[in-house]
């Protein structure tokens, strides 16, 4: 049997975990992004080569993940600000979280075609 059980937190705890995870993912993206942009100082050809690989379907999928992480982090960040500065924020934190999740789902559906359309045409033909 496990060494101990996971604490059964509710919406607040899991939103905090998701906020941390998405934050770390965004940090790694920024790290890579600084590196690939810095490549232009090495040589413009090297930069073009690297950016060309970003058009592959696999990277498009990663980009969709990036959109997911940034959207959640941004929307939940607004919720955290409301919890911090709005006197009724702590009382409505759960409702605010579900609002965040709702908006996130709508925006993720909206991002499907712009982000993944090209990759789908590439994989399945147009």
């Amino acid at each position: 049997m496990p060494a101990g059980t996971l604490y059964r937190g509710r919406e607040g705890m899991w939103s905090w975990v998701a906020h941390r995870v998405t934050g770390v993912l965004i940090f790694f993206f920024l790290f890579v992004h600084v590196l690939d942009t810095a490549l232009v100082r090495v040589s413009p050809e090297a930069y073009d080569d690297v950016v060309a690989t970003y058009k592959t379907p696999l990277v498009a999928l990663l980009e969709y993940g990036l959109v997911a992480a940034i959207l959640f982090h941004a929307l939940n960040g607004l919720r955290v600000i409301a919890v911090d500065f709005w006197s009724k924020g702590p009382r409505y934190q759960k409702q605010m979280l579900w609002t965040v999740v709702g908006i996130w789902v709508v925006l993720m559906v909206g991002a499907l075609y712009p982000v993944l359309g090209h990759a789908v045409r590439e994989v399945f033909g147009s």
Binding site: Y7, M13, W16, V83, D84, P90
Partner: protein
């Protein structure tokens, strides 16, 4: 209930047919026997309307006298039997068996973030030290009045929620920040600071705010709301912490 015509066997059946069989899965630790904590299962017949504490009593009194846990009043006032039941911090004396799905084993563990001494007993000293550090007593200056210190109903209402704390540590030991770093004051200490900071009769609000302005003070709160969910007294703990944070920014309290 039993009637005069019922024979003994029937009466016994009637007396026990409301009982259900429940498995208690308890996290056992005895440093004199082993350095590792282990799970131990106990099966017992119990009325689902009884509390988890009653189950622990049955185990200690009838099955295994070595089971160690704290409890005193057994009625949700003394705050000594906070433990992690089915993964959540609760008071064993306020948790009914029927409310926590007795069909599955009921897990009982000590609260997290404090050193386990034996079975369900943890070392509460760091917890009470944090409580003492926020000066949880009335501080005034000038001559003592000859009668009560009067306060309007509105002024009393301002900190009513945080007067309910029973210092059970369910909030502090539900906090992920506290699990990671026991130096954090923790929700309970902040709740008790809040109780005096927002008391119109008290004069040490600034001092308490400075104590909580520390790097291990209120700013470490990540608003996970575990404390608010865990509080057996229904205190809006996170709200109180946020009010202290805002008081530190605006210096209005």
């Amino acid at each position: 209930m039993a009637t005069p015509t019922m024979d003994k066997v029937e009466a016994e059946a009637a007396a026990s047919d409301h009982l259900i069989t429940v498995t208690f899965r308890i996290r056992r630790f005895n440093p004199e026997v082993s350095a590792d904590a282990v799970w131990e299962d106990f099966q017992l017949e119990i009325d689902p309307k009884e509390r988890v504490l009653d189950g622990l009593h049955k185990i200690k009194w009838d099955l295994d006298g070595t089971l160690t846990f704290r409890r005193s009043c057994a009625h949700g006032i003394c705050g000594s039997d906070a433990m992690r039941i089915n993964g959540k911090n609760r008071l064993a004396c306020k948790t009914l068996i029927k409310d926590i799905n007795p069909a599955k084993p009921i897990t009982v563990e000590p609260i997290k973030g404090l050193t386990v001494l034996k079975d369900l007993v943890v070392d509460m000293d760091p917890f009470f030290q944090a409580y003492r550090d926020v000066m949880p007593f009335l501080v005034t200056s000038g001559n003592e009045p000859t009668r009560e210190r009067l306060q309007s109903a509105e002024d009393r209402e301002r900190f009513d929620d945080t007067t309910k704390c029973i210092l059970c540590a369910a909030c502090t030991s539900s906090c992920p920040v506290f699990w990671n770093d026991g130096q954090y004051f923790g929700p309970a200490a902040i709740v008790n600071a809040h109780r005096f900071i927002f008391d119109s009769r008290d004069e040490a609000g600034e001092q308490r705010l400075e104590i909580l302005n520390d790097k291990d003070g209120v700013w470490r709160c990540r608003t996970t709301f575990n404390c608010t969910d865990a509080c057996p007294r229904g205190i809006e703990v996170t709200k109180a912490i946020q009010e202290v944070k805002r008081a530190l920014i605006t210096r209005r309290f």
